[in-house]
């Protein structure tokens, strides 16, 4: 058993729902008790979808358990087919139904519907949402696109690709797709199928027609892309076009595989981000300590943007999905940090509290953690929240995405000159650090004096004088100063920090 306050991911059948809901002409019959119908609201409320997810739940009850839940499942499959007339159906069990072992696969097969019925085996007590989505997409692709008619000759036509990964309840997938579609078209690449978002089973049958696959979200599409690579010889582009560097690398990959001309896509001014970052106004961003946590692929890409494109210092990097732990470890090595691979929200909270970063790039969970610890935070990754579905165009990927990243990551921080003024005149009654960054208005988290003027480590104490001096440092660097000074003291075996230690530490770290 695992004690869980908040979860980063839902169960695997929610991943399957994300695929079914993203597609058209697919229906999902889920053997599940009534409470599992809560999952509908993820789509209708968080994502504001105007349609019910195409899911029929058997909603068995305790009194059914003694009877025939298998018959109930079969009735549900028949009923769903008659009512919704899907082109393909997926069937499976949620965590509770898995325990009663009704064998949805066998039951569905026995009904012998005139459409493909794809059974899903999603072990609820081992796996989670992203894995469930990836597995479901893979099973659909494998069943619907088993063989290829052979691709059209490459001569006399533009290269053709599939975009794989965008799904329902995805983090900014809607706008990423517009951005990447435009980028590929500028590069002279045609798009065969986008899947699963908006695709029908008939579209999946056409997947092998493309020359290559673009895997935008590996946590959703990598399993399917690997199978397509093996079975249909379609190479896959896995570079995530996040940030300017990521987008340029992505373009280079497309050029390598498709032999297209990158000049138009790389034309100067494709992104404002480089200049915004080089502008002297952004000088103050240099070396800001940033903690990055989220979906593995996204966190790795975000750490690169933070380090190379904003000049931040990555002090922590982690992910909640273990499926990509190896990649996270490799990336953590680049920044010389210990990778944090956990789905335990409390462990992440401990890490943030310990590292005292100036900015957290995380998920909605880290937003809560940061709020509690009074640290600035920007959300970079699923799990999604209603705020991650803005009305405006807001991609994360591509060159426009890079602009969005600059704005959303820099915005939570106190601005450059403001930071200096706060340090110089911290007793001003209406412009002080307790009032929070002025551009964030009154809604910004207040930053009270409770931000550690306390010792972080119990083995060390501070003189009154040193404590008072520490309180003069603005709240958003106070945690870092406390931590640095204490580390300095520990290294030198100093148990009591006085004014001398404080300034010694400062000069030591300034070297």
């Amino acid at each position: 058993m695992q004690l869980t306050v908040w979860t980063y991911e839902g169960p695997p059948h929610v991943g399957a729902m994300r695929i079914a809901t993203a597609m058209r002409g697919v229906h999902y019959v889920l053997h599940a008790p009534q409470g599992d119908t809560y999952a509908d609201l993820l789509f209708t409320m968080i994502e504001r979808r105007g349609e019910r997810p195409p899911v029929t739940y058997t909603t068995f009850q305790a009194r059914d358990l003694g009877g025939d839940t298998a018959e109930l499942f079969k009735d549900s499959v028949r009923g769903a087919y008659e009512r919704f007339q899907p082109q393909a159906m997926i069937v499976g069990a949620s965590c509770t139904a898995e325990l009663i072992q009704d064998d949805p696969a066998g039951l569905a097969k026995a009904i012998d519907l005139p459409i493909p019925v794809i059974p899903l085996d999603l072990p609820s007590y081992q796996k989670k949402e992203s894995w469930g989505a990836a597995e479901t997409f893979f099973q659909l692709v494998r069943t619907l696109a088993p063989r290829s008619e052979g691709r059209a000759p490459a001569e006399g036509r533009r290269p053709l690709c599939n975009i794989l990964g965008p799904t329902a309840l995805g983090f900014h997938h809607r706008d990423d797709l517009i951005e990447i579609r435009r980028l590929l078209e500028t590069l002279g690449v045609d798009i065969n199928v986008v899947a699963p978002l908006g695709a029908t089973p008939a579209d999946l049958r056409r997947l092998p027609d493309a020359d290559f696959n673009v895997v935008l979200y590996p946590e959703i599409a990598d399993t399917a892309a690997r199978w397509l690579e093996r079975t249909h010889g379609q190479p896959a582009i896995r570079t995530i076009p996040l940030g300017v560097g990521g987008t340029r690398d992505f373009i280079a990959e497309v050029v390598r595989i498709a032999g297209v001309d990158p000049r138009l896509a790389l034309a100067e001014g494709a992104s404002r981000m480089p200049w915004w970052s080089r502008s002297v106004d952004s000088n103050y961003l240099t070396g800001k300590r940033v903690f990055v946590f989220g979906e593995a692929n996204r966190a790795i890409a975000a750490a690169r943007v933070a380090s190379e494109e904003l000049g931040f210092e990555v002090v922590g990097l982690g992910a909640y999905n273990r499926e990509f732990a190896r990649e996270v470890r490799a990336a953590a090595e680049i920044y010389g940090v210990t990778p944090l691979i956990t789905d335990d929200y409390l462990a992440v909270e401990r890490a943030v509290a310990e590292l005292q970063p100036e900015l957290v790039l995380g998920t909605q969970m880290e937003r809560h953690i940061s709020k509690r610890l009074k640290i600035a935070c920007a959300v970079i990754s699923a799990p999604s929240h209603v705020q991650d579905y803005p009305a405006r165009y807001s991609p994360q990927l591509g060159f426009e995405g890079a602009n969005v990243l600059f704005d959303t990551w820099v915005h939570p921080l106190a601005m450059g000159l403001e930071e200096h003024l706060l340090t110089m005149f911290r007793d001003d009654f209406e412009f002080n650090d307790a009032a929070g960054p002025s551009h964030l208005g009154h809604s910004a988290a207040p930053a009270p004096e409770s931000v550690p003027v306390e010792a972080l480590s119990s083995a060390i104490s501070w003189t009154q004088e040193a404590k008072a001096e520490l309180a003069k440092i603005p709240f958003f660097v106070r945690g870092k100063a406390t931590r640095n000074t204490e580390q300095f003291a520990v290294q030198r075996g100093i148990a009591l920090i006085d004014l001398e230690t404080l300034y010694d530490a400062r000069s030591h770290l300034a070297r």
Binding site: M1, Q34, Y57, D64, Q126
Partner: protein, 442 residues
């Protein structure tokens, strides 16, 4: 007492089973209650934790379940609760199910971990879920064992919020029923006392407390108490007034302790609240003129507060999807006090003993449906073209996208809606979607 004929039939599991009901001959005015069986679109009882954990300030709710349970509570809370929640899930994993780990040892370890983090907790609920029920994990024995281990600092109580046994608000019923044995016995000769049962917002509780004091009811307790140490004694001189219609099991448990339930409609709107208070006043033989004097100002305020919404809602047709079991009581309120016409009142479960007085007030033309087949119900709803649909979060936006006006039912459970001074707010919850539709030009 009720004019409604209840048609109970044993139902085979048939999803497309057309809803049927029969009239019993000899009761001309009688109106059938339809029973429906099919796909349900409702929350399970775990959802109640979202408000219960705020009500009982020294209690913690530990769900013993799956990742789905944790995800449900987190998602149903909409945006996540900002403060550290007093609930968590002990997520069962493969090794727990395969018998590789002793479930009881695992549970003890998780509880230790939890208490180390929250030593302030005085009452721990072990909450059963669908998977824990299916594998027959005995949480009552675990609760006994843990109670002994941590006594007297901590009491451990168990109940089931599983979706195979409970629907949404039934979780509160199960929780409160489990709490009844924690109440000490009142002496047989104890002075009569009033027990108001059902988790109410603190502000509403305080309003009722003042009203009962003015009426002259000397001792009033609320259940659940805000702090577990304040749980009141229960005995034959306890008079129970239910504040919510979904507390059937709790009412039974209280009756088993000798407490007597006062029959009343539920305190929604001016009329509902008056009748509810009257039930208590009558039990204490409070003279009618005094009762009238005491409720006068609140009742007048409530009526005045309803006027605006009534303008909007009078003559409008409303359709309730099943959700919280509040539906018959709310239908009584919107038809009787706001002039609406109820087309269909769906409810997940109908406790005839508790809502009989409300059913009597409903129009015989109103279709009352217990249970659900969501697809058939959507068909009926579309055909009826109501002006306002009360439904769950999974259905609201899809129906809005079809051009209907909806009210999320969950708000009717999560907001202060009981009593005179909330009557206007309750009416506004129904009026706002219509006002909004009229106002928007986009």
């Amino acid at each position: 007492m009720t004019r409604h004929v209840v048609i109970d039939r044993s139902h085979s599991i048939a999803l497309a089973n057309p809803m049927r009901a029969e009239r019993r001959s000899g009761l001309d005015q009688a109106q059938p209650i339809y029973k429906e069986r099919g796909q349900r679109e409702v929350f399970c009882g775990l959802t109640g934790i979202i408000w219960l954990h705020r009500k009982m300030q020294d209690a913690f709710f530990l769900v013993v379940g799956s990742r789905t349970c944790a995800h449900l509570i987190q998602s149903a809370a909409g945006v996540m609760v900002f403060a550290e929640p007093r609930f968590a899930t002990a997520i069962m994993e493969e090794r727990d199910l395969a018998g590789m780990a002793d479930a009881n040892e695992e549970l003890d370890r998780v509880v230790d971990q939890l208490l180390a983090r929250r030593p302030d907790i005085k009452l721990l609920f072990l909450v059963g879920s669908c998977p824990s029920e299916v594998i027959k994990l005995d949480l009552s024995r675990a609760a006994e064992r843990l109670s002994l281990k941590y006594s007297p600092a901590l009491k451990v109580v168990n109940y089931s919020g599983s979706g195979i046994e409970t629907t949404f608000t039934q979780g509160e019923d199960a929780c409160l029923a489990a709490l009844v044995p924690q109440a000490p016995d009142a002496a047989p000769d104890a002075a009569p006392s009033l027990l108001v049962v059902g988790a109410l917002p603190d502000i509403v509780e305080d309003q009722f407390r003042r009203l009962f004091a003015q009426l002259g009811v000397p001792k009033v307790d609320f259940f659940p108490p805000r702090r577990s140490g304040d749980i009141c004694a229960i005995g034959p001189n306890t008079r129970v007034l239910l504040a919510q219609p979904f507390l059937g099991d709790t009412a039974q448990k209280l009756a088993a302790r000798g407490a007597v339930r006062l029959e009343a409609p539920f305190p929604f709107g001016a009329e509902g609240t008056t009748a509810w208070l009257k039930a208590a006043a009558d039990a204490w033989r409070i003279p009618a003129p005094h009762f009238a004097r005491v409720v006068e100002s609140g009742r007048t305020r409530a009526k005045r507060a309803l006027e605006g919404a009534r303008e909007t809602l009078r003559g409008k047709r409303i359709f309730f999807f099943p959700d919280s079991q509040l539906e018959p009581s709310l239908a009584r309120f919107v038809t009787q006090e706001l002039g609406m016409i109820a087309v269909e009142v769906g409810t997940p479960y109908l406790n005839r003993d508790l809502v009989g007085l409300e059913l009597e007030q409903l129009d015989p033309e109103t279709r009352i449906v217990e249970g659900q087949d969501v697809d058939l119900q959507l068909d009926r709803c579309r055909a009826a073209k109501p002006d306002l649909i009360v439904c769950g979060l999974g259905l609201a936006n899809p129906l809005e996208a079809e051009g209907f006006t909806t009210k999320w039912s969950i708000e009717l459970v999560f907001s202060p809606v009981h009593g005179f001074d909330q009557a206007g707010d309750l009416a506004a919850l129904f009026a706002r979607p219509l006002v909004r539709h009229a106002r928007l030009k986009v």
